[in-house]
Amino acid sequence: MRTAEQIKAAIEAAMPGAGVGFVTNPSVSEQHSLRLAPNSAVAVARFLRDDLGFSFLSNVTGVDWPDKEVSEKVTLTRTVTKTVDGVDSTVEEKVDETRKRQVPGCLEAVYHLYSVELREGPIVLRMRTGNRTDQVELPSLTPIWRSAEFQEREVFDLFGIVFKGHPDLRRILMWDEFKDHPMRRDYVEPDDFEYEPTAHDEVLTRAVAHQISEAAAGQEGTGHSQ
């Protein structure tokens, strides 16, 4: 049973400059993962399949990491003028200040590999997009492992990662005309759900609000809000 570190070393020995990173998993499961650089991912995947024996790609999924604000405590030294007993004096003072820093978000694709022949696994591969809006392309691993075909379609559908090189990238669970990606953390349900026939409580409030906003917009009913 080879560990993720050994796999990483094997990749680096065969393909210098592949840019494989190591991601430690602090959980008790100890399933550490390898981060692939998108431009060399297909070559690394082919090497994993053909030379290291990882013939079976079990699971493909996406993870959404939205932009987040990180608060950090910084200690600053400031010069303050103070009046003591009617005399102005300048004093140096230490002040704790909380600063906020923006960490840009990304979308991540996660792959779980096993070896049928060597009975090993899982080896976890991860790839990250540039951001969550306009750089959402990642290379598709479907040409290497066919099992990614439907699963990458699902990640495209629900998360919005565009897999370049996928032979048939269409929505799979949502319908073709659907906009937006429901598994993203900041997804907001559209206010067009079918109201209950006997609406009450929260649903009643939403139904009334919906009807008012529809009337204000001068739209025709959607057929759902009788």
């Binding site: 998993n25 602090p26 959980s27 008790v28 499961s29 399933q31 399949r49 053909d50 030379d51 024996g53 013939s55 079976f56 790609l57 079990s58 699971n59 999924t61 993870v63 996660v110 779980h112 049928v116 022949e117 060597l118 009975r119 899982p122 976890v124 040409p143 492992w145 066919r146 099992s147 990614a148 075909e149 439907f150 699963q151 629900l158 032979p167 929505r171 799979i172 669970l173 949502m174 319908w175 429901p182 598994m183 997804y187």
Partner: protein, 394 residues
């Protein structure tokens, strides 16, 4: 011919695109007939559509269409605690709710490091194997039903399934929506009377499997309809992530009960049946043989089951916050590899909750198996995959 697992037997030195469906060019300038089979087709086990292009009777192209039963279970689970998702897992593959419970409990136990008491492990094995028996029996019944043998084999299978569902009801309170397993054990203990009743049902199972084999295996019509139909080559099966009885029917010896030995499976003596013609008949036959092996496991587990608690008294099943990190846990569910992938950010809800559905991934190769076959056989090939739409669409 059985494929012995050797390194890189599967895909090395194959040209790019070898794992794509092999396109057939129709003869002459034939007009293709496009048929939408489904979503309300009696053979589709629910709401599933196949867009088929036909040249006469021959299938030229087949595109499965999913999503009619989609309710975004994964999104719902991210908004609730770990325990609150447990009843929803029953509704994935609703033929086998107990193995779904087990897979989810196993993934959470991997994430938190929670140990499971001995008696609970035995109960899990007993319930998991009973689930496998009733799933395989009814899936064979459905397959024969789709072939046109109206009623009899399906009713034979359902008679046995009903006995097993009665056991589930006696133990968990529900026939199908069981909500039985917990992180670190099981919800309630089995009484001695329940174990006796289970022993009695298990004693009757070999008779049932022999009866099915006598009834079906050498049936001329069944052999004519299924042998040589829907062949799936082992290297493609591995590459396309096919798991469970379908993978083993394609000649690959890979059973997660043996490979991972999760729970206490490495204590039991059982064999892994493997197919050697890779067709629909093999898939049918593998399921019959797996029923036999499951009966063997059941007999051993019912003999050895120890006393003791079924829940670790120190286990926290609600309101716990796993350390940040992630875990992927998988089991050999009756339909294939059922996995749960969980990411914790230290909160009470999972940050990411993903189900690896065997039914969906086994359908990847549906087109490859169907191309070039008659349209009537597509129904059989589809039936031999054995899917449940609750799990495909989630």
């Amino acid at each position: 011919m059985t494929v012995t697992p050797t390194l890189n037997a599967s895909s090395k030195n194959k040209p790019d695109g070898w794992n794509r469906p092999q396109v057939i060019v129709p003869e002459g300038d034939a007009d293709l007939l496009e048929v939408a089979m489904g979503p309300h087709h009696p053979s589709t086990h629910g709401v599933f559509r196949m867009d088929v292009a036909l040249d006469g009777e021959r299938v030229i192209r087949l595109k499965p269409v999913f999503g009619y039963l989609h309710r975004n279970h994964e999104k719902l689970a991210e908004g609730m605690s770990y325990l609150a998702s447990m009843p929803f897992t029953d509704r994935l593959d609703y033929i086998c709710p107990l193995t779904n419970n087990w897979a989810y409990a196993l993934a959470v136990e991997k994430l938190t490091g929670q140990a499971v008491p001995e008696r609970a492990e035995y109960l899990r094995v007993i319930l998991g194997e009973l689930t496998r028996v009733q799933n395989h029996a009814s899936s064979i019944g459905f397959l024969i039903q789709e072939m046109g043998a109206s009623g009899t084999p399906l009713m034979y299978a359902f008679r046995e399934r009903e006995k097993i569902l009665d056991l589930f009801e006696a133990l968990t309170g529900a026939r199908m929506m069981v909500n039985y397993m917990r992180f670190g054990g099981c919800r309630v203990d089995a009484s001695p009377a329940w174990l006796d009743a289970t022993r009695k049902v298990v004693e009757g199972l070999p008779g049932f499997s022999e009866e099915m084999e006598r009834l079906l295996c050498s049936n001329e019509i069944l052999m004519a309809r299924t042998q040589g139909v829907g062949i799936l080559r082992p290297e493609l099966a591995i590459n396309a992530g096919v798991t469970g009885p379908m993978l083993r029917a394609s000649g690959v010896d890979y059973d997660i009960r043996k490979v991972d030995g999760y729970g206490i499976y490495n204590r039991f003596n059982f064999r892994v049946p493997v197919g050697d013609h890779w067709d629909v008949y093999d898939r049918f036959m593998i399921r019959l043989l797996e029923i036999r092996e499951s009966i063997k496991i059941l007999e051993q587990a019912l003999k050895d089951i120890p006393g003791g608690p079924v829940m670790d008294p120190k286990a926290k099943i609600r309101g716990f916050r796993p350390k940040p990190g992630e875990a992927y846990g998988r089991i050999e569910a009756p339909k294939g590899e059922l996995g749960f992938y969980l990411i914790s950010d230290g909160g009470p809800n999972p940050y990411r909750y993903r189900i690896r559905p065997p039914s969906l991934i086994n359908l990847t190769v549906l087109e490859d198996m169907a191309i070039g076959q008659n349209v009537a056989d597509v129904v059989l090939i589809f039936g031999s995959v054995d899917i449940v739409l609750g799990e495909v669409d989630r």
